[in-house]
């Protein structure tokens, strides 16, 4: 495939608001997970909460008002990202720019709140009657309006692969000349649905998640907003690029991964093929690595069989938590960022790698100038996406 240029990127998550803060947490091996309970939630767990959002006073028009869209705005305003996008809008024209965002929760946290104050006639009370909020696509409409983009805005919602797949869709839209520049990304915010939902599946860890550890106990949930500005032609001096993508489904089960990781393998192979590289050519792999007993075993064994020992393998959810619909962009940005900074993060909280996972997991971060980085995202419904980034 023709590489898509990555002109700007940003990440806001529990590990930091914006790249300088995120990079400090990565270097200092400092988790963003906290034991502070979520309001109204009785599940004892650690959460990757963006605490800065709680006392952030930025204004979101009441048509769009909800935690998810406030998190989106906080994220857009970091690292000069919104300014860079507005430059692209001025350069290409608002109608030649588009938005493709992934989310799984979307704004359901706001819908939960509305149900707690439901009127006797079963209607939302007036302050919650927000059509633009209580639907799965809210965040893309909000971000397009906030950035002044008038081309198409699309939301992808395929659980935990949502905001990885945005890069695949953007590459296709650029190839078909639907737009010249596209804001891709993802925003997912903590809410009761996901905490109690994963709790019902017995997948929530009572301690900070430890991906690929012998004693891993499940996931730590988190929230994040991440974005990248992609274009067909370079816009400015940046030399980073999307080199390949691969998508697949397991055709196996709604909430359990294929036991041999067949769908995951198809996604990785498709990404490798599109990039023109080989598995030997991948310097760093950011694993999906959620911290569950089953999924880490499947992914670890598969990657041990596909990648040479020279590929650095790590999972970063010990810093961020599993940010679900934003996990794809969170880990895509951390992969792109490793290319840009030359620092490859380790696997936080993990101390005794599980031999049953087979893969040689990088525990501590290393300075390693890398030229290619791959990121895996696998979701419910057996939905998989792998991305490869490098230099244009």
């Amino acid at each position: 495939m023709r590489a898509a240029c990555i002109n700007a990127y940003t990440l806001t998550c529990a590990a930091g608001v914006g790249m300088p803060a995120v990079n400090r947490s990565l270097k200092e091996a400092r988790t963003g997970l906290s034991e502070t309970p979520w309001p109204g939630c009785g599940v004892a767990t650690w959460l990757g909460r963006v605490a800065a959002l709680d006392d952030d006073e930025r204004h979101v028009d009441e048509r769009w008002g909800c935690r998810n869209n406030r998190l989106a705005q906080l994220g857009l305003e970091q690292d000069g990202f919104a300014t860079r996008v507005r430059e692209a809008v001025a350069h290409y024209g608002a109608g030649r720019c588009a938005v493709i965002l992934g989310t799984s929760t979307s704004s359901i946290g706001r819908t939960e709140q509305a149900y707690s104050e439901l009127q006797p006639d079963q209607r939302f009370s007036p302050e919650f009657r927000q059509p633009e909020v209580h639907n799965p696509h809210s965040v893309s409409g909000y971000v397009a309006e906030y950035l002044g983009i008038t081309g198409p805005a699309m939301t992808l919602s395929t659980a935990c692969s949502s905001s990885a797949k945005v890069f695949a869709s953007a590459a296709r839209w650029l190839a078909c000349n639907v737009a010249d520049a596209i804001v891709v990304g993802g925003v997912d915010s903590l809410c009761l649905s996901v905490i109690y939902g994963f709790h019902s599946l017995q997948l929530v860890s009572p301690n900070p998640c430890r991906p690929f550890d012998r004693d891993r106990e499940g996931i730590s949930l988190g929230e994040a907003a991440g974005f990248a500005l992609v274009s067909r032609d370079p816009f400015g001096a940046n030399s980073l690029a999307l080199l390949g993508y691969g998508e697949s489904t397991d055709a196996y089960h709604m909430s359990s991964a294929h036991p041999e990781g067949l769908g995951a393998q198809l996604a990785m192979q498709a990404a490798i093929k599109r990039s023109g590289l080989s598995f030997e050519g991948i310097d760093y792999l950011n694993l999906h690595g959620t911290g569950t007993r089953s999924n880490d075993g499947i992914e670890g064994r598969l990657c041990a069989s596909l990648f040479p020992e020279s590929t650095l393998l790590s999972a970063t959810k010990g810093w961020t938590g599993h940010t679900l619909g934003a996990a794809g962009i969170t880990e895509a940005v951390l992969s792109i960022n490793a290319l840009a900074t030359g620092f490859v993060p380790g696997t936080l909280n993990t101390r005794s790698p599980d031999p049953a996972c087979e893969a040689p997991i990088l525990l501590d971060g290393v300075e390693a100038p890398i030229d290619t980085a791959m990121s895996n995202s696998f979701g419910f419904g057996g939905n998989n996406c792998s991305l490869i980034f490098g230099r244009a």
Binding site: M154, R172, L201, T249
Partner: protein, 273 residues
Amino acid sequence: MKLCITGVGLWARGLSGWNEFLARSPNDFAGIDAAFSPPSPEAIPARERRRAPLSVRLAVEVAHQSCRMAGVDKALVASVFTSAMGDTDITDYLCRELAGPTKMLSPTKFHNSVHNAPSGYWSISAGNRSPSSYAGDFHATVPVALLEAATLCTTEDRPVLLVAYDIANAPPFADICPIRESFAVAFVLARSAPRTGWRIDVAVVDGPADWPQAHSPYLRALAASNPAAYCLPLLEALAAERPAELHWPLSRWCHLAMSLKPSDSVTRDARQA
């Protein structure tokens, strides 16, 4: 983007497939007085079917219908699913339970709450490991998903299944986006049509557009009842076997322009099927 539509699937009140639509087209829809009956797609394994909510059964039913008509290998077609509101029965269940004292969620209902649940059940029912998405934009959800399907079909040169569905809702969601009738429609898109197909040229165009209105009063009312049914004028145009220009709003600022040309053999073959 120049493509072909090679298959259509449909489920609505009184209409359980494209052939029933054709048989009533253009003026015989007024006779429909049946109540809505949910599909029970045999393609979903019995164990999964019991757990499958209405949104899934609608989407999987029309997906299989359209693939049969197109004659594509259902294990190999890529897919894009869409709805304006997702499964509001499940959203309502989650939010009611979480507003109550016990907050005990059913694990099955929780995993069915992901918006790609229909895509997941489809891939299991079809043994299909190809790329599959849930993509949309509220009221512009069908045009956005068509754009996504068209770019997927064009760049990867493979048939793509597009499935749009929305289920009927009640308050409080009826205040957010009133959906009076459940409805699902599917199309198979391909770069070329060796056997049958309508030719369609799709482009994003600057400027607003209003949704076209169906000619049949019955279909006009059905289209107004459900965002997935806004596209019924396209089905009328397909059935009429006449060239048509359709404009679907993508946002306040741009729209999808479609130029449709019938291929002579298509509807004749479908009628014989």
